[in-house]
Every structure is written in C-alpha cells, then in structure tokens.
C-alpha cells in the first residue's frame, strides 16, 4: 500500500514537472525576437500583406494566452501541431530524425555502459594501486576532450587519411556494393556508424566507469561483503557478488544517459553530418519553428522525466525507507 501511495505521489510530481515544462517552453520560445513568418524566406522578399496572411493562417495573430490554450488542448489530444518551416505535422517531421538518432545513440549508450561497468569493476577491485591511479586518469582523458574535437580528429585520421570509413552521413546515397562483404546486410550503415559511435563512446564511457568504481569501493565495506570474505568465498565469487550489488548507481545513471543521448548529441550529429533530432532541435530554434522545437524539447524532457520516475519507483519498490522521503 505504502508503495502505491509513493508511486502516486511521484507520478503526480512527474505530471507537475511536465506541465511546468510545457508552459516554460511555450513562453520562452515566444520571447525569442523574430517573427516565424519571416523565417521561410531567407533573404527573399515577402510583402507585408502576404506576411500578415501567413500570420493569420498560422494563428499567430491571436493573443498569446489563446495560442497557449489552443496548443495545450491539442497537446492533450496528442496533436503536436504543424511545423511552420516544413508545413507538415510535427510528428512527421520529428519521427524520422528521432529514428536516426536512436540508431546512432543506442549503440553508444549500450557500449558505454558495458565498457564502463567492466572497466569500473576492474579499477574498483584494484584500489590504491598504481594501476588504478593510471587507469582512472586514462578513463578521464576522453571525457575531457571536447566531443566535436575527438570526432574531427578521428575523421581526419580514419576517414581522410586512411580512408577506412566514410566522411559522414547515415548511408551512401545509392550505394552499389562491389564485393561480397559489401553486400552483407547493413554493411553501409554499419561503416557509417563506426566513427560517430566510437566518438560517442569515448566521450561518455568515463561517467559509468567512475560511478561503477565508486559503487564497488563502497560495497566492499558492506556487511555482506565482510561476511563473504569471512566465509572464505573465492576471489571470483566475491567479485561477482560485489558487482551485482554495486550495479544500482550505474542503472540510475544510465537513465540519465539515455535521456541525454536523445538531445545532447548535437555535436556528434553536426560533425558526422548525421540527420538526427539534435540538429533538428537547433535548426528549429534558429528558424523560429516553435512547434517543432517545442515538441522536440518536450519529448526529450518527457523521456528523461519518465526514466527518472521509473528509477525512483524501482528504488521505492526495493528499498522501503525511500518511500517516506
């Protein structure tokens, strides 16, 4: 019962956060100077009367509060509106870009967590030694490199110099395989994925690694570990026990990481010319395409907020003490 009360409260919090977000985004985007009707013309010409027609058509002539109510009502029905810039439903604009981003970021997140947990466990078990000191510093280095710079350097080496991988993009337009291995399914997409995924993993592996290491160090002092040692468990069995119990913080973190992966990787998308949601977000902001920008921000935020909710609920389920606070 207590858990369900807790779950209800957390659910309510989530709803409030999302509502705040919707309002915040709506106001913020309309504070950006610049009329969206002027954005589609570049430096072309658009007479004032024609512009006014557009404004009426797009509902921008109404008072702000009416626009907000219309927006909120549509949102409740799952209608994200029409993109100003593309003149298509926002969902149609966002969906393919989102799919591309998932294609890129899913391997990044999975690899970063797997490598991070493995490396962190290894380091955590060797605390205090010189190997650990060096290992920890080594793990920090890729985190300290600006991700776009890592990408550029990898591109310069492996795409321009050695020509092993393509320069960018998600696939080659009209790719004609020349031999049997190029004919393998997904060959083209895979070779386009290698460099951006490597860059993304380098940039994001340090956090799960350090978290896993810290968690492992803390777990070592827990009673059950002391007991395990006292009972004479083998080193391997001890390690497995410690790893299993130290995994929670990394799981929490991976929720955050998944969220960041959705929108935080604009730089990867820019450097590798990857048509993803991050670039769409930045472009739609500069193009004053509020409906798209709002929807993308909102979706991204919703993912983060829901993942956090899930993690909290999982904790609440596992650890009754949390439900009170």
């Amino acid at each position: 019962m207590a858990f369900w009360r807790y779950a209800g409260r957390r659910g309510l919090h989530t709803a409030v956060t999302l509502l705040l977000l919707v309002g915040f985004m709506f106001v913020l985007f309309r504070m950006i100077p610049g009329d969206p009707t002027t954005m589609m013309l570049g430096t072309g010409e658009l007479p004032a009367e024609a512009q006014q027609r557009l404004r009426v058509l797009w509902g921008l002539d109404r008072p702000l509060w009416q626009q907000f109510i219309a927006y909120a009502l549509n949102l409740l029905q799952g209608n994200l509106g029409m993109s100003f810039y593309f003149r298509r439903p926002v969902s149609e604009v966002i969906a393919p870009m989102l799919a591309n981003t998932v294609l890129l970021m899913a391997p990044v997140v999975i690899l970063a967590i797997v490598i991070g947990v493995a490396g962190g466990s290894w380091l955590g078990w060797r605390r205090g030694g010189r190997a650990e000191e060096i290992g920890a510093v080594l793990a920090l280095i890729p985190r300290a490199l600006p991700v776009f710079w890592t990408g550029i350097v990898l591109l310069a080496l492996f795409a321009y110099q050695f020509r092993w991988f393509p320069i960018g993009g998600i696939r080659e337009a009209f790719f004609f395989p020349e031999n049997w291995w190029q004919r393998l399914p997904f060959f083209d997409i895979t070779r386009h994925l290698v460099l951006p995924v490597a860059t993304g993993v380098l940039a994001s592996v340090a956090d799960p690694l350090m978290i896993q290491r810290t968690a492992l160090l803390e777990v070592r002092h827990e009673d059950f570990m002391v007991l395990a040692r006292a009972r004479g468990l083998s080193g391997r069995a001890q390690r497995r026990l410690a790893r299993r119990n130290a995994i929670l913080p990394v799981l929490t973190y991976s929720a955050i990481m998944v969220g960041f992966a959705f929108g935080g990787q604009v730089l990867l998308e820019v450097v590798f010319n990857w048509p993803g949601i991050g670039r769409l977000m930045v472009d739609s902001v500069t193009q004053r395409d509020y409906p798209v920008a709002q929807a993308a921000f909102l979706m991204m935020a919703a993912v983060v907020v829901f993942l956090n909710l899930l993690v909290d609920l999982a904790y609440g389920w596992l650890d009754p003490r949390i439900r009170g606070g």
């Binding site: 913020l28 280095i141 300290a144 600006p146 730089l267 991204m300």
Partner: protein, 281 residues
C-alpha cells in the same frame, strides 16, 4: 585550510594538475606580455600578401589562421576566456545550486516540492539546444553564453546538496542550535553550510570543467561570441573555413589546450573527492 589547499599535491596526478592550472593562470595574467602579436591582427608577408594558413615558422610559432592571424597569440589570449568562463560559471552555478539545495533540504514540504520540480525541469531540458536557444534570445556574447550555461548546470549540485542537507538536518548539532533559538538563516548558513562546503567545492571544481567544455561546444556550433578569441571559437573558425585537415597547427593546439585544462580540473576534483568520501581513499 592550507592542508586542504595542498591536498592535490599528495599524488602525482594532482601535482600535474596543479602545475597545468597554475600555468594557465600565469599565462592569462601576463598574456599581453607573452603573446608575440595582437591576436586579431592580420599578418602579411614581405610582398604584402596575406599570410593565409601559413605553417609554423620561426616568426609564427604555431602558424597563422585563414585570415592570417597568429595562432599562438590566440591560444595565449584564450586562457583568459577559459578562466572567465570557468570561474564565472562555477560561481554562478555554486551560488544557485547550493542555495536551492540548502533551502529545499532544510525547509522540506511545499518549498522542497517546488524547488525539486524546478530541478527536475532543469534536468529534463536538453542542454546544448537550450543554450543555443537562450543565446538566440539574448544575442551571441560571452556573457550570454555564461548565463545560459549556468541557468541549467546548477541542477546537479542542487540535488546533491539537498540530499546532504536532508541528513544533516536531523543531526544533533542542528537540533541543538534550533533549541538554542537560532534563526533558520543562521542554522542554514552558519551550521549546515560549512558541513556541505566540501561537497560544494567538489561540484564547483567539476562545474568549471563542464562549463569550459560547454562554452567550447556552443562556440563550435557557431553561437559563440565572434569577437572573442576563445579556444572553442578558434576550432569553429578552423572548421567552417574547411581548414581542419590542412592546418593542423590551427586545429590541434586549441583542442589539446581545452583537454589539458579540463583534465587538470578533473584531477584536482578527484583528489578532493577522496576527502568527501573517505571510502575512496
């Protein structure tokens, strides 16, 4: 206090980090004396031709940029931007994050609820697109970039400080102070704050690093202050002029400089981390 300050010198990585940071501060302080040229001056060869993308030479030790500006001088002046961005952001983030955490943790209830929803909100907003949006709103300038970065990055320290305060709140010395009739403000800032200070400093240290990376990223996306010779701006200009591969002397130094600085900050932070969490020792 002195022992606290000298703590990073206890390990070789810490000594290295302190050396790097001291070097950056020193270079920033004497940049005009150290830089061979005005970082924004075009250089011409003897025949009056612009020295476009001139490779490193005795006169221009790190070569020139697309418009014939001296890379070394730009790199030297860039230390100032790094320090301004890092320190300003860290202070702003520290002030906002700490206060939100203190107030939310101490008062609890509705106040806590509201502040934590705001924190959730900040967590939910994608960082770079948001900064780009704010810069579009306020015009590209260094100060606006700093404000935009700080407006989101307080979220982590606020959450951590709050959870610290939650446990401190029930400790004996806080109860004693309350019984002795101390005001809330006094309890918060005189009794609780010193206890969360190590944690605050730790997060401030990491925030310096993240802020510097964020500024570089914003500049790289083309939303930086074009009048600044920031390292991120240098990389942006090298990139958009299509000189990345040709002019390695223009591409590698700023990237390496950012990385070195950020690594140094991380390492210092790591040494303090041992202080806040003895089990890591």
């Amino acid at each position: 206090m002195l022992r606290l300050a000298l703590l990073p010198l206890g390990s070789w990585s810490g000594r290295f980090a302190i050396f790097v940071l001291a070097a950056v501060v020193l270079v920033a302080a004497v940049a005009p004396a150290l830089a061979p040229y005005d970082p924004l001056a075009n250089h011409f060869d003897a025949a009056g031709q612009l020295l476009r993308l001139d490779p490193p030479s005795a006169r221009y030790k790190l070569g020139t940029t697309y418009y014939g500006l001296d890379v070394l001088s730009q790199l030297i002046y860039g230390t100032r931007i790094v320090l301004v961005v890092g320190i300003t952001c860290a202070v702003l983030i520290g002030v906002i994050g700490t206060n939100v955490g203190l107030v939310a943790g101490y008062y609890g209830g509705r106040v806590d609820g509201l502040l934590m929803r705001l924190t959730d909100l900040a967590f939910g907003i994608p960082f770079l697109p948001f900064v780009v949006m704010l810069v579009a709103l306020l015009r590209p300038s260094l100060w606006n970039t700093i404000v935009a970065i700080s407006m989101l990055m307080w979220r982590t320290s606020a959450r951590v400080i709050r959870s610290q305060v939650l446990s401190l709140r029930e400790r004996g010395f806080v109860r004693a102070a309350r019984i002795a009739g101390a005001s809330d403000l006094r309890i918060l800032y005189v009794h609780i704050f010193p206890n969360v200070l190590p944690m605050v400093l730790l997060y401030v240290a990491f925030d310096i690093a993240y802020a510097v990376l964020a500024e570089a990223s914003v500049s790289f996306l083309g939303f930086g202050d074009p009048n600044q010779v920031s390292w991120g701006q240098m990389l942006y200009l090298a990139y958009v002029s299509g000189s990345i591969r040709q002019a390695w002397w223009w591409t590698l130094p700023p990237g390496l400089a950012i990385s070195l600085f950020v690594i140094a900050v991380f390492l210092v932070g790591r040494n303090y981390e041992r202080l806040t969490n003895p089990r890591l020792r």
